[in-house]
């Protein structure tokens, strides 16, 4: 069976060059970079080299890069670490309703600790109203947190303009750049960002490594106690091999981004046009102007079909994609991003994301475009919503009860 991977916003394959660069750090270069002896000295240079490679991708200095275990840790650290040191200044955070759960749930937690959070809504295209953002700033606002690009729709937010607003009002600005890094040019200086978080496994490095840009002079609490690593900010022995891998992945991204993503964009546009032209009753989720979306992301709803069923049928043809349906989000509710965009609930359940990489080929796009229409038609023929005349029941009280039960179980 063919294996076609179109879920690169979820994770990517480790690049061969990245793996090669990492391997010595599992073998002969096994030392702890904090040690003074030969074994430690052998690896400490590698960490600083990787720091410079990350800095180069983000256009900051190496001293402004903090290594972490993942994007979620970075978002947690940026937000909670800011609240730790600025809580005497204010207790207000501004973010958006479409952030990754690493930001949203951190903010929800902080609400239980006395902080107030404004969750900015988005319009039907998923765009923010910057006037609304600016108007939300009060003298208690200590942090603005807006993602650089959205993981589900690929929408790119106007980070430079938000940076201007933050600078004007002297409010700290954090951006979750996990989806944008490596796919778009990221210039944290130009964008007036104070903190930006990236994740290794989204750009061809392994899982378990991430980094944060922390602008020089930005005060922040400690995320982990118990060691002097990362200038006393993040205790814990360095994940040397992971850090080396992240460095190489960032360097490759810097070198190849323009070429790779021009190619990926061509594939994505072909997939997008192909689906929109051949399958009726589909809806593009995200900004209609493709320039305002990540070049690799396509989110589309196939009306009358639930997303998990679609993914399982894709899977039988070897196609790996993802969905915003409740069943695949694990939350009993469809995607919060679709909800914030006001997408109809059936369309939200049917939202499907294809996220490409430079490893995809034009033949693969042709294959997907050939396999999709019969799968969609088969599931529509099975759906009581397709060509329905009576109203569709929407509400479910039992669900809410079950959801509460599930949540308490999960805790």
């Amino acid at each position: 069976m063919k294996k076609i991977y179109m879920d690169n916003n979820a994770t990517t394959a480790v690049k061969p060059e990245v793996l090669e660069a990492m391997l010595p750090f599992f073998r002969e270069q096994f030392g702890n970079p904090s040690s003074v002896h030969w074994a430690g000295r052998m690896v400490s240079g590698a960490i600083e080299n990787a720091r410079a490679q990350v800095a180069s991708l983000l256009n900051c200095s190496a001293a402004e890069v903090v290594f972490l275990s993942c994007g979620s840790e970075g978002d947690n650290y940026a937000i909670k670490g800011t609240c730790d040191v600025l809580k005497d200044k204010g207790n207000h955070i501004i973010t958006t309703a479409v952030e990754h759960p690493a930001v949203l749930e951190t903010c929800q937690y902080l609400e239980t600790q006395g902080f107030e959070v404004t969750y900015l809504g988005v319009d039907g295209n998923g765009s923010l109203d910057l006037a609304e953002l600016e108007a939300a700033i009060t003298d208690k606002t200590i942090l603005i947190s807006v993602m650089w690009a959205n993981n589900e729709t690929g929408n790119i937010f106007p980070i430079e303009e938000i940076g201007e607003i933050a600078k004007k009002h002297k409010v700290r600005f954090h951006t979750d750049a996990v989806q944008a890094a490596g796919k778009l040019p990221i210039d944290v200086r130009k964008a007036n960002v104070d903190m930006a978080v990236i994740s290794g496994h989204k750009i061809g490095a392994p899982k378990g490594i991430g980094a944060m840009y922390l602008k020089r002079g930005t005060r922040i609490g400690k995320f982990m106690h118990g060691g002097h690593q990362e200038r006393n900010r993040r205790a814990g022995t360095h994940n040397v091999a992971g850090i080396v891998g992240l460095g190489v992945a960032c360097e490759l991204a810097s070198q190849n981004m323009e070429r790779d993503y021009a190619y990926v964009r061509k594939l994505r546009d072909k997939l997008e046009t192909g689906i929109l032209e051949t399958i009726p009753e589909v809806k593009l989720n995200g900004h209609p102007n493709a320039d305002l979306r990540l070049p690799n992301t396509l989110n589309i709803s196939f009306n009358y079909i639930e997303g998990e069923s679609l993914l399982l049928f894709f899977d039988m043809k070897g196609i790996a994609a993802s969905s915003g349906s409740a069943c695949t989000s694990g939350s009993l509710e469809p995607s919060h991003v679709m909800g914030a965009m006001g997408v109809d609930v059936v369309l939200a359940h049917s939202s499907t994301r294809f996220s490409l990489s430079a490893d995809n080929s034009e033949e693969e796009i042709d294959y997907v475009l050939a396999e999709l229409p019969p799968i969609v038609q088969r599931l529509r023929d099975m759906s009581p919503l397709y060509q329905r005349e009576s109203e569709v029941p929407v509400k479910c009280d039992e669900c809410r009860m079950v959801k509460q039960a599930c949540n308490s179980y999960a805790d």
Partner: protein, 125 residues
């Protein structure tokens, strides 16, 4: 995450479709949960002769719908009424815990269809 039986019923669902002039029709579920199941019945002499279904939902929803049609055909209405969602899930060798609510409504849809039949036919059967 799904058993072989679930995947079998999901990928080759039995008795998909509608019955024209069905003797009973039942629908349960809603769009919020992402699962809606509709069951059509053909009844003769108090015995379920044919069942067809249409389902909007995940893999489990489609598999349970398919399974309940197989379990119901040939049963008397009273026998079909004691079929439970749990029994359908067990016949599929189980479902993941998260699927036990919204996606496991097929027996409820069958019961709704029988209720509809009884209302239309004055409970005589």
């Amino acid at each position: 995450m799904y058993t072989e039986k679930v995947m079998d019923h999901f990928s080759n669902p039995r008795n998909v479709g509608e019955i024209e002039n069905a003797d009973g029709v039942g629908e349960v579920g809603n769009a919020s949960c992402g699962d809606i199941m509709k069951i059509f019945l053909k009844v003769e002499d108090g015995i379920i002769k044919d069942v067809k279904f249409k389902t909007f939902g995940c893999g489990a929803a489609i598999a349970t719908s398919s399974m309940v049609t197989e379990m119901a055909i040939g049963k008397t209405l009273d026998e079909a009424l004691v079929l439970t969602n749990q029994a359908v899930a067990e016949a599929l060798d189980g479902l993941p815990p998260a699927k036990m609510h919204c996606s496991n409504l097929a027996a409820d849809a069958l019961h709704e269809a029988i209720k509809d039949y009884k209302e239309k036919h004055g409970n005589a059967a």
